[in-house]
Subunit: 364 residues, 2 copies
Amino acid sequence: MNNLFKTFNQTKYQLVNHGPRNVSVLKQALEVIDGQQASDLYGKGKIIENFQEKMAKFLGKETAVFFPSGTMAQQIALRIWCDEKQLKTVAYHPLSHLEIHEEDGIKELHQIKTILLADKNRVIELDDVVTMNEDIACLLLELPQREIGGQLPEYQTLEAISRYCRDKGIKLHLDGARLFEVLPYYQKSATEVCELFDSVYVSFYKGIGGLAGAILAGDQAFTEKSKVWKKRHGGDLISLYPYIISADHYFDLRKGKMDQYYYDAKELARLFNQCSGLSTIPQEPVSNMFHVHFDFPKEKVISILISIHQETGIGITSNLRDTSSESCYSEISVGDQYHQIPNDELEIMFQLLKERLSGLSFIN
Amino acid sequence: MNNLFKTFNQTKYQLVNHGPRNVSVLKQALEVIDGQQASDLYGKGKIIENFQEKMAKFLGKETAVFFPSGTMAQQIALRIWCDEKQLKTVAYHPLSHLEIHEEDGIKELHQIKTILLADKNRVIELDDVVTMNEDIACLLLELPQREIGGQLPEYQTLEAISRYCRDKGIKLHLDGARLFEVLPYYQKSATEVCELFDSVYVSFYKGIGGLAGAILAGDQAFTEKSKVWKKRHGGDLISLYPYIISADHYFDLRKGKMDQYYYDAKELARLFNQCSGLSTIPQEPVSNMFHVHFDFPKEKVISILISIHQETGIGITSNLRDTSSESCYSEISVGDQYHQIPNDELEIMFQLLKERLSGLSFIN
């Protein structure tokens, strides 16, 4: 993997992302900021309050609170809904970020029991919710479902789940780490999507490309409680402005580009799917992201990718994970960099990929 | 209070602090950093690892972990020691940060019971520890005890408490939010003080004057566990570099100035103590900080301070808290700004303060 990462980072062009995560990302956001601008101070001050108001408005929620991380914001959202219902059980997808990437914080810090809904390889449908045997305080839906290539339920399904949850007194929370990225597919505004949910988390370092940081939005009673928990978690920093300034800067820069990323992701997936021995999930992306699944062992695919990185100067991916000993996959997230690749060079790159994967198929 | 804060911020010179907390604090730290410098990535990468190693060495501990906040770092330290002893009880001072400033995170998130040692108005002595009735997993000592003006136990007391705790199998944790600031009084190195403790937290936005952020140091088994809890708390951000860069920058800039701040604090306290109707705690500071207690109602003191801010251009303080309806106090932390005040102007300012407080005494 080290060599894949290294050769990816040495390429002139890259299929994915907005560019390297380096200090210039922060420097660029700070350039337009007056040095005399006062810091936020433990959640107070214009710099944080203005951004919270702006995001509350964009998401169509009464209020919003800036958090250092989504991990913190989402555990807290679920805790608040559990406390309100005096029922420490929630439900979400088996591959939810909370279940697989947070060292069980939700269970270890909040003693919340989790029900895993739906099969790993598909999104949660209305039926999964309706046929649940246990009472829950809150259902978390992740849009798109990142760990399965960024799949989405139909919008009608979302509406039906939302109606059902409201009827049953179940709170609905949106893991919107990549919410902005799915708006073009749904052809909905953030406000319209968020209306279906009681609480919403969005991130500023995925499609937006900021440094880090998250917004948690909902009604005022909810967000006031979230501020208390934010302090308990150790997230009420004296200064969060480096994240706020960069979130604001890159939100303004990129919120209008989500259509482009979505369009580019569909084009890129088509190019991948012309190669044999691989397939994308979803076959046609519904956001800026998808997974490329290779029907070959990881080491063999890495060799090919490294050779292409070095020969074409185009980076395909820096990450590749085993799905079995005979297959592997890569997460592809389209950002600003895809558009900078000259068409003829892109064509040559895919021609090479096609040939070398065919070579593997032949050997197999 | 608003007018006090406002007039303080409009003054040319200020007795306290390093300067305004504004964006230029970050910009200045970033100036010398190459934009191509890669971000840390979820706790990995040179930028975070190098600083952790540097601080581990400075504190004389095996390893160190950078945290977004001390609130997070210290709850986690206590949790680890409780888990190790399978005993969820710790002891600390009644005015510990954990007890009064963290919305009971230690209890709400970790279900840890806290024993309050010693009287509010003095530091913890060996006797308080020895005569404790309950078993505890960990004792937390805060050096200096901020909420009582930054008082310190004698160094021999620290050594005795440390010996006692080791004998009894009680872990000793240092709340060293202002550790660097007490080294001149103790005439000890950070390593010598930290040797007495099993785990140590230090902060980078008090005497150091960085943006935010903390280091938690101890042996490797301890810090490895702390990383797991850091993720659970939502503190394992994809990028912490704005805090790390500023912590590193201002640590290098100010770690050698602690003698000066301590000397200046003693001089400043002497000047305050020449006024009637006030006293400092401690009478002679043992760090860069002390409290000024006024024997008059807050509103009357505010009027005087505002008039002095406006007439002399020297800011005394922006914060004043009631101790009773008839008295109030202010926390004074000496930093870079004190030294910039011309002597003759400082003299005039204290002359005015003396006169106006005498006026109040006379009225009373």
